[in-house]
């Protein structure tokens, strides 16, 4: 029994309809299906890997390798929200490293750590195509993915406080 198919029958039909109806087309659905589960559960469980593999007619290992290769998929739970600050060259030239350090200092954590309440994980990430509006970060959470640009430490803390209250 495929619990995933039962729970998300309509969404899964929409996803599968984007690609050819043959075996190769089914495999194309693996990335959108991973997103579907991750938005629902926060991360990809072993059970979900098995179910997605069944739907896409590939092996569990092939699904797991996709999760390992692409940096936006997670197979472990973490903070409810991931605050991901770009520290690549153009952002770094506009003070992103200092911004990240001070933000973490204010939250009492180190880069890569989660706040003690388990809600906010702060990470340094690669270029997010927001170079002209640095410092900037994206927030990944149950509602999806959102950009916050032209930030100061104060404005970022305000965003984070709202997430905590939400």
């Amino acid at each position: 029994m495929n619990a995933l198919l039962e729970k998300h029958a309509d969404e899964i039909q929409v996803i599968l309809a984007k690609y050819p109806a043959d075996k190769a087309g089914k495999r194309s659905a693996v990335m959108p299906l991973l997103y579907l589960i991750q938005h629902d559960q926060g991360y990809i469980t072993k059970e979900a890997i098995r179910e997605i593999a069944e739907l896409c007619e590939i092996t569990d290992t092939e699904v797991a390798s996709i999760i390992g290769f692409y940096s936006l998929y997670y197979d472990q739970p973490s903070g409810k929200y991931r605050v991901q600050v770009c520290t690549d060259l153009p952002c770094a030239l506009r003070g992103a490293e200092d911004f990240l350090e001070k933000l973490c200092e204010n939250l009492g954590i180190k880069v890569g750590e989660t706040t003690p309440d388990g809600i906010i994980k702060v990470e340094a990430v690669m270029c997010l195509a927001g170079c002209d509006k640095a410092p900037m970060f994206q927030v990944q959470g149950p509602e999806g993915l959102e950009y916050h640009e032209n930030q100061t430490v104060d404005s970022a803390l305000e965003v984070i406080n709202k997430l905590r209250q939400g």
């Binding site: 590939i58 060259l89 690669m126 270029c127 195509a129 170079c131």
Partner: protein
């Protein structure tokens, strides 16, 4: 200072609300699309685009019409893929097009599909563009409802369906064959070429992959003609280009200017120069994949087009101009770019996977002041060993800043290794 009389690509800056289908239609939207489907042979569309001289805006600058003419007419179906994976550090132009002028881009995708006789097109967006993908999904739904997409368009037998596909945080998927693998639900790792996508693309079928900005040029090329288009820019690099300006500059942002505009005009007129009275030191015209240009008078007077930038030892690429001022140390900068490439190397070929790893350790040691000039020479040596040996451009371009940085800014390396050398 040259200003475009009107924006061709960032038209939303002249026409508010252009991301609404009614406004887009009121301003001539989909007229080019209807014209070609009802009145033009697909080959004539390709001929017109060839005549316009449009070159790929993703970085390679390959003539767009010529690429289309390579599509294999013996193998069906055909596909079109829009490369919206925009991930080069310093590049943020496609994002603005899709956020604010989405219909012109989607009309461009449709025109390309008609020209190469494809009935299905995919738009591959980087995973971080999740909100933009939702916006495009809504735009596509509006176009289906308005009868400009879907079955038997404008009373003809031509049908076209557009789909978005989200990547998930992998720079390498901007490489066209890695992107195709990713749509197929596989690891985003480049394919050995040839065969090239126009012969062997997604699902092994002929596929044309074009960048978002390239495709956004098409509606106006069709409606106003190739001669009009060639009146903008230079003879060999015609048309407008969006320059993404970032780094040490007062007014970073996207600037749509004719190809052939000088670096000086972009950085000092449009970008309003360097902050806090510091001096310009270097320019990276193609993001992290750039060579380091010494920002002297000759460089600043150089026109930004596909022919002139190579004359000063760099490439125009995607025209992501990162400005470096005299407060920046090159060893630190190289550690930044190499850290990026090491993280993003897909691991398929050894020169790139291992080479970027070792370059990262060397640049880290040197930038911390713990390296010697022997380490700098070793870094140069490792970079040279990657040259010409990588499977794709990621590895090949990862060494550009390293080699040109060491060669053109030796004092920065002497300064940072001085203590350890003695």
């Amino acid at each position: 200072m040259t200003n475009m009389a009107e924006h061709i690509l960032l038209r939303h800056r002249d026409i508010p609300g252009l991301d609404q289908i009614q406004t887009y239609r009121q301003n001539g939207g989909f007229e080019a699309w209807k014209k070609i489907v009802t009145k033009m042979d697909p080959n004539d569309v390709t001929t017109e685009v060839k005549a316009s001289g449009l070159r790929g805006r993703g970085g390679a600058g390959f003539p767009t019409g010529l690429k289309w003419s390579f599509i294999d007419g013996q193998n069906w179906p055909h596909y079109v893929v829009a490369n919206a994976d925009e991930s080069e550090p310093g590049t943020f132009k496609d994002r603005e097009i899709m956020e604010s002028n989405p219909y012109q881009f989607l009309e461009g995708v449709a025109i390309c599909a008609y020209a190469v006789k494809a009935m299905d097109a995919y738009i591959y967006l980087r995973g971080e563009f999740w909100q933009i993908a939702h916006k495009l999904d809504n735009c596509i739904a509006e176009m289906n409802a308005a009868g400009v997409l879907g079955e038997k368009l404008f009373g003809t037998n031509f049908s076209l369906h557009l789909q978005t596909h989200l990547g998930a945080g992998a720079y390498i998927c901007g490489e066209e064959t890695a992107l195709l693998e990713s749509i197929e639900g596989k690891l985003g790792q480049p394919r050995l070429r040839p065969p090239f996508p126009p012969a062997f693309g997604i699902y092994g079928k002929p596929t044309i992959v074009n960048n978002v900005e390239t495709l956004t040029n098409l509606p106006l090329i069709i409606s106003r003609g190739a001669d009009w288009y060639k009146s903008i820019g230079t003879e060999k690099s015609p048309g407008p280009k969006i320059f993404s300006l970032s780094g040490c500059v007062n007014r970073p942002g996207n600037y749509e200017l004719p190809l052939g505009t000088t670096f000086r005009e972009l950085i000092f007129d449009h970008g309003r120069g360097i902050p806090e009275g510091r001096k310009i030191k270097a320019i990276m015209p193609a993001g992290a994949s750039s060579s380091m240009i010494i920002a002297n008078d000759e460089a600043l007077a150089t026109p930004m087009d596909y022919e002139s930038v190579p004359k000063i030892g760099a490439q125009l690429g995607s025209a992501s101009v990162i400005v470096i001022d005299d407060s920046v140390s090159l060893p630190w900068l190289l550690n930044k770019t190499i850290h990026f490439f090491t993280h993003e190397s897909c691991g398929k070929c050894t020169p790139c996977r291992d080479g970027t790893y070792w370059m990262m350790h060397l640049t880290e040691r040197i930038s911390k002041g713990e390296g010697t000039m022997n380490d700098v020479m070793l870094l140069q040596d490792v970079a040279n060993q990657l040259k010409g040996k990588c499977l794709c451009a990621l590895g090949e371009f990862s060494i550009e800043a390293v080699l040109t940085g060491i060669e053109r800014f030796p004092a920065d390396f002497e300064a940072v290794t001085a203590k350890s050398n003695s």
